[in-house]
C-alpha cells in the first residue's frame, strides 16, 4: 500500500455474545488510559458504545480488523454468526472474559435444556402471567411478512468451540490493568506468547498469591456456606470449612475476592496443566475430608449443597462433560 511508511492506526473491535455487559464496562474501567487506547487504535465496531450495523462489518475486507475482543459465550444463532464473521474479519481474535473463555455464568444454563429454560422463564416464574403459554419462536408470520429473531441453542458454547481463538483473557470481568498490558503487547508486537495461550493472567494458582495463613494439614469436618460462619479474616477459607476455588484457579486477578474477605469463585479458570477446574477442585477438596468411614464421608459431603454448580460456576461448557446429560 502507498502509506506503508506512516504506521497506520490499529483497528479494534469489541463484541458481546451472551454476556452481562460487564466486560465492555471493564474496557471503560481503564479510565483515562482509554484515551491511549483510542490514540493507538480506531474502534471500528463496539455495539455497547457505537452505532454500527452488522452489515457494515460484513462489508469490511477480510482480516482488516487487527484485534477483536469477543466477550460473552455463544448462546444463539446471532452470537454464532458474529463469532464466525469476526473471526473472518480479524487478524487476532481474543476470547475476552470468563464467558468467552469457558462459558461463564451464562454457561450454567447447560444444567438445563432449552425447553426447561423456556418453561421456567415463560410459564413458571412467580411473576409471569402467561395463560396461552406463548413462547418466543425463531420465526413468525405476520401479514407484513416473516419476522425472525435469533434462534436460541440448546447448549451454551465457549468461543473456542465455534471458531479458532488466538488468545484468552480470563476474568469476570478481566482486570483492566491486565487488558492494558495485553493491549500494549499487541500494539508493540513484543512479548506476545504463542497463539492459543491464556494472557493477562499468570501461571500460578490463586493460593500461591493469597496472603491468608495456611497450614499443611487441612482437615475438614463440615463445609460451610459463606454466610453460615464468621470469617476470622486471616485463616485460609478452606481451613475454616468454606469452599474457596483458589487451589484450582489461575492467579492474575490479585486475589481480590479473598482480599475483600470473600472466597474465590474461580472466574480466572483452571491453572496451566489442568483442563477441568471442577475436577481439580474435587480432587483437592476430596482429600481434605476428615473421615474414613463411608457414612461419615457422606455426612460431610452432604454439607456441600451443589458441588456441580459451585465447582463449575464459570466453566461448565468448557469443562470435560460440557453440560448435564439429558
Amino acid at each position: 500500500m502507498a502509506q506503508e511508511s506512516t504506521k497506520p492506526k490499529l483497528k479494534l473491535a469489541i463484541y458481546w455474545g451472551a454476556a452481562c455487559g460487564g466486560c465492555c464496562v471493564s474496557v471503560l474501567d481503564t479510565h483515562e488510559k482509554l484515551l491511549d487506547i483510542v490514540a493507538a487504535a480506531d474502534l471500528v465496531f463496539w455495539p455497547i458504545a457505537m452505532d454500527i450495523k452488522y452489515k457494515d462489518v460484513e462489508n469490511m475486507p477480510d482480516k482488516s480488523i487487527d484485534l477483536t475482543l469477543f466477550n460473552g459465550a455463544v448462546r444463539n444463532s446471532e452470537n454464532k454468526h458474529l463469532a464466525q464473521l469476526l473471526r473472518q474479519k480479524s487478524k487476532i481474535l481474543v476470547a475476552y472474559g470468563s464467558c468467552a473463555y469457558m462459558g461463564g455464568i451464562p454457561g450454567l444454563a447447560n444444567f438445563f435444556s432449552r425447553n426447561e429454560i423456556f418453561k421456567r422463564a415463560y410459564e413458571e416464574t412467580e411473576s409471569t402471567l402467561n395463560p396461552d403459554k406463548t413462547i418466543p419462536l425463531h420465526s413468525f408470520k405476520v401479514k407484513e411478512g416473516i419476522l425472525e429473531i435469533p434462534e436460541m441453542f440448546n447448549d451454551v458454547f465457549p468461543l473456542n468451540q465455534i471458531v479458532d481463538v488466538d488468545y484468552y483473557i480470563p476474568g469476570c470481568p478481566p482486570q483492566s490493568e491486565r487488558l492494558l498490558e495485553v493491549f500494549s503487547a499487541i500494539v508493540s508486537g513484543i512479548g506476545l506468547p504463542p497463539a492459543g495461550s491464556v494472557v493477562g493472567a499468570n501461571d500460578k494458582t490463586n493460593c500461591d498469591e493469597c496472603k491468608r495463613k495456611k497450614s499443611d494439614k487441612k482437615q475438614i469436618k463440615r463445609f460451610y456456606r459463606p454466610w453460615e460462619i464468621q470469617d476470622d479474616k486471616e485463616t485460609c477459607f478452606i481451613e475454616q470449612g468454606v469452599i474457596c476455588m483458589g487451589p484450582a484457579t489461575r492467579g492474575g486477578c490479585g486475589v481480590r475476592c479473598v482480599e475483600g474477605n470473600s472466597p474465590c469463585r474461580g472466574c480466572y479458570g483452571p491453572p496451566p496443566g489442568a483442563t477441568d477446574p471442577g475436577a481439580k477442585m474435587m480432587a483437592a477438596i476430596g482429600t481434605m475430608i476428615a473421615a474414613d468411614k463411608p457414612e461419615e464421608i457422606d455426612e460431610i459431603i452432604e454439607t456441600i449443597v451443589d458441588p456441580a454448580g459451585l465447582f463449575y460456576r464459570f466453566s461448565l461448557p468448557g469443562s470435560i462433560l460440557g453440560r448435564k446429560i439429558l
Binding site: 477441568d276 477438596i285 462433560l321
Partner: protein
C-alpha cells in the same frame, strides 16, 4: 447392532491389578468388556481421569483398590474413597446414572471376586444402554477443524 459396553477399569498395582492377574492365571472366564488401566495406587485417581473416560466413550468406569487398611501406601485408598464420594455426587447431578461409576475393593487373592464384579457390572450396563456423555451437545454448531 448389538451393544457391547466398554468399561474402563483403573486398578491399583498392589491389590486389584494383581487380583485381576490372578483371575487370568486361574483361567477364569469373564466378560471381555473391561479395559484395564494399571495405576500405582487408587489414591492416584483424579476425577479428571474418570470424567475423561466418560467423555471418550466409556459406558462405565470402575475403580478398584486395596481393602481399607491394606493400602500399600498406608492411606491412599481412603483418599480415593473421599474423592470418589464427592465425584459420585457430582456425577449424579450431571445426569450420569450412578451405576455407571463404581468403586470396589479387590485384594490380590480375590481373582474370583474380580471376575464376578466385571460380569455383574457388564450386565448392569447392558441393561442401562450406551453412555450418552459424548452425544449430548449439539455438535453441528462446533467448528469443523
Amino acid at each position: 447392532m448389538n451393544f457391547r459396553p466398554t468399561i474402563v477399569a483403573f486398578l491399583c498395582n498392589w491389590c486389584a491389578y494383581t487380583g485381576a492377574d490372578l483371575a487370568g492365571t486361574s483361567r477364569l472366564h469373564y466378560a471381555p468388556n473391561v479395559r484395564i488401566i494399571r495405576i500405582m495406587c487408587s489414591g492416584r485417581i483424579e476425577p479428571t481421569f474418570i470424567l475423561k473416560a466418560f467423555k471418550e466413550g466409556a459406558d462405565g468406569v470402575l475403580v478398584c483398590g486395596c481393602h481399607p487398611g491394606d493400602c500399600h501406601y498406608q492411606e491412599g485408598n481412603y483418599k480415593c474413597l473421599r474423592r470418589f464420594k464427592l465425584l459420585e455426587k457430582f456425577v449424579s447431578q450431571m445426569g450420569i446414572e450412578k451405576e455407571r461409576l463404581k468403586l470396589e475393593w479387590i485384594s490380590a487373592s480375590e481373582g474370583k471376586q474380580f471376575a464376578e464384579l466385571i460380569n455383574e457390572m457388564t450386565k448392569t450396563i447392558l441393561q442401562l444402554g450406551p453412555g450418552k456423555v459424548n452425544k449430548t451437545l449439539e455438535f453441528e454448531h462446533f467448528k469443523t477443524k
